[in-house]
Symmetry: C2
Subunit: 413 residues, 2 copies
């Protein structure tokens, strides 16, 4: 199996506020090609350390990617350092300068002389064109080990990889590709899920399966090794099918979608609409449902009924219900959903009332107590939850639970 390293260049990536996220995308592409990432390094604009890092990487990995540091300023040291690391001179490419001048002219500007620095290329390297920026990339085959130097910005880096580097790797990356697929499951814990599906996935030797808990759901990551992408996808689909057969409605996505995307798809397919009444989540469910382009097809509106007066005034929750059972109660959740649905005239409504903390908990109703309500034309229901976590997590998990409750109620009909 081929091994790779990624070296990200830039002093800003060594500050407390910035992180290299570029490499995540590149890792996924490499894995799909059957290449395993063995090391990631972040180096500042420090020629000595960068040269050492590139040289070390070339000594132990089949593929070395250097990203960033190709700009026109003094701080951009990648070009000369990469050349030094492979022991080759830089050569001036007049055609690159001409291209750059032409490009600046089209923008109605004169090319600053400093940009001539971007016309220097490692001797013998293949120039990788950059339609989205001024820095070209470089690809050098050092007899077995390959070095690819790519610009830092994702919108330059990613197309350059896809168009020029990927085809090259495919030529020698051998017979195996990796294909990923993510299933998402609600309402069942990590270990219980693993216990149920282990007999399914362990029958597939060429698939690496991981079961991960993520905030309020469990994800099943499949990574099939196969001789073609189609074969890998087929194996993943086969396992996904068996897991759905086993777990049923608990699997809310076999394509790695977010819960709101799944709910949106179901509503659009059925030509139905929804409205939401939220207390402790204060608009998270409405915001998630409207994150999706085209959400006006199914989302009519919502009320963030934080104060009790909002619940009575805008949703018609009877004040005596709040008095008798408390604002955080099954009765109020149901009245909120019912009132919301009537006022917005939607197929369904969901509601949330709860205690997100840190204050407001009591012995009877501790922080994390949440009621989710649901109303359709012919039924009103609710769900009682005790959610763990801090304010952020309780609110997030309540929103996820409400969307999942909506999904399950719709699918049960």
């Amino acid at each position: 199996m081929l091994t790779a390293e990624i070296i990200a260049v830039g002093s800003e990536l060594l500050t407390p506020t910035k992180i290299d996220t570029n490499s995540l995308w590149l890792t996924e592409r490499l894995n799909e090609l059957g290449v395993e990432l063995k090391l990631k390094t972040v180096v500042g604009d420090d020629p000595a350390r960068l040269e050492e890092t590139v040289r070390d990487a070339l000594g132990r990995s089949d593929l070395v990617f250097v990203t960033g540091g190709l700009g026109p300023t003094e701080d951009d040291v990648t070009r000369q350092v990469a050349a030094a690391a492979v022991g080759l001179p830089l050569v001036y490419h007049q055609d690159l300068e001409d291209n750059l001048r032409e490009r600046f002219r089209r923008w109605g500007r004169e090319m600053p002389e400093i940009n001539k620095r971007q016309a220097w290329v490692i001797d013998g390297a293949e120039v990788l064109p950059n339609p989205n920026g001024s820095a070209v990339g470089m690809y050098v085959d050092l007899g077995g080990t390959r070095l690819a130097v790519l610009p830092g910005p994702p919108r330059e880096n990613q197309p350059m990889f896809n168009d020029f580097v990927l085809p090259k790797i495919r030529e020698f990356s051998g017979a195996i590709v990796f294909r990923r697929r993510v299933l998402k499951v609600s309402g069942i814990g990590e270990s219980a899920l693993d216990e149920q599906i282990a007999p399914i996935y362990s029958a597939y030797e060429d698939v690496q399966t991981s079961v991960l808990f993520n905030k309020s759901e469990v994800e099943v990551h499949l990574r099939a090794a196969a001789s073609t992408a189609e074969e890998g996808d087929r194996i993943n689909a086969e396992i996904a099918g068996k897991i759905v057969e086993k777990l049923g409605i608990a699997v809310f996505s076999t394509e790695g979608e977010e819960m709101e995307q799944v709910v949106a798809r179901i509503l659009v397919d059925r030509g139905e609409t929804v409205s939401v009444a939220e207390s402790c989540t204060g608009g998270i469910v409405a915001q998630r449902l409207t994150d999706i382009p085209g959400s006006s097809a199914y989302f009519v509106g919502g009320v963030a009924a934080y104060a009790n007066e909002m619940k009575t005034g805008m949703l018609g929750v009877p004040a005596d219900l709040i008095e008798r059972f408390g604002a955080v109660s099954r009765e109020v959740a149901e009245a909120m959903a019912q009132g919301m649905r009537e006022r917005a005239d939607t197929t369904y409504a969901v509601s949330i009332t709860g205690i997100a903390g840190p204050a407001g908990g009591t012995e009877d109703k501790p922080v994390g107590t949440v009621y989710v309500g649901f109303a359709s034309g012919d039924c009103i229901r609710s769900l009682h939850l005790l959610l763990p976590g801090d304010r952020y997590l309780v609110r997030w998990r309540a929103s996820q639970a409400a969307l999942d409750y909506l999904r399950r109620q719709i699918l049960k009909n």
Copy 2:
């Protein structure tokens, strides 16, 4: 100036879905101590590569941090690899085993034999206690170069650094500390801002200033080098004061706060309340205002009035206003704010109506057209914006603009 490297260990950090964020916290602490981070590496559970990485790091940096890989399983190779890299044997600490057994017993469990692996420590290393987990840390002074091996989980790693590593570094880190301060500014571009404040910050030689654009605001990061923390804080405060004097109300925070925290503080200080009526943002403003603990003190409620029927039915926007001017108009924004404020009975109300895209734009009102409305007891106003970006960014920027408009209107009174 002392230099440091951070090596994060774990194969999961080399997948497309996980990233090392631990190092950000550590970087900030190191910078505060006047230590500069020169390199970050992520290595998998691969003994040969890890040993090489640790050895290389010790050869060039004053301080080397290795985080993660201290668990009890076969995959956890950091302990033996770190020992090999410094050329020292591992020594068994019976007292650590006894402690672990005792700890498991308190949890009502038997210590698995595998955990005995966690009682091996590099010969001569100082043991760093871990009250929050089973893996102790190690600190080795190799005569000039120092190696600190810390567990991966932040809630183990961070207290261990603060309690045991930080005091040691302070002993030899010399006379200089770094102190950071972040100012946030709205309504002015990056270059225009820089032009205005450069004469202020360039007078301070020991302060490194960076001006960064972040989604919908500009941040000014100050990093003062000083002989004491107090002195550094004093210099930062002096510069912050001068910038506020120059820019006035445009500076919405001198403490790096989020816009919603600033608005919340202002409302709480004044004992006032707010409600929000949102169309294209579908609840983002309500959600942001309720993210903050204790938000019921100032937030009464909101309406996500996505469909026109919600605007007329729940906010009392006259239907003929929508017909004449369109749902995305100054008139409707103002009517939404006014209707919201009356219904929620709050000191202020803000509203948003706009076109977030990707569809829905026209020649007159392209994607990104947003109107923000404001209502108080004695005035109703609005703001017209044309926001750049995709759906996510338009929605985010609209929510930020609405909160900022609210802030400015309140402060102008």
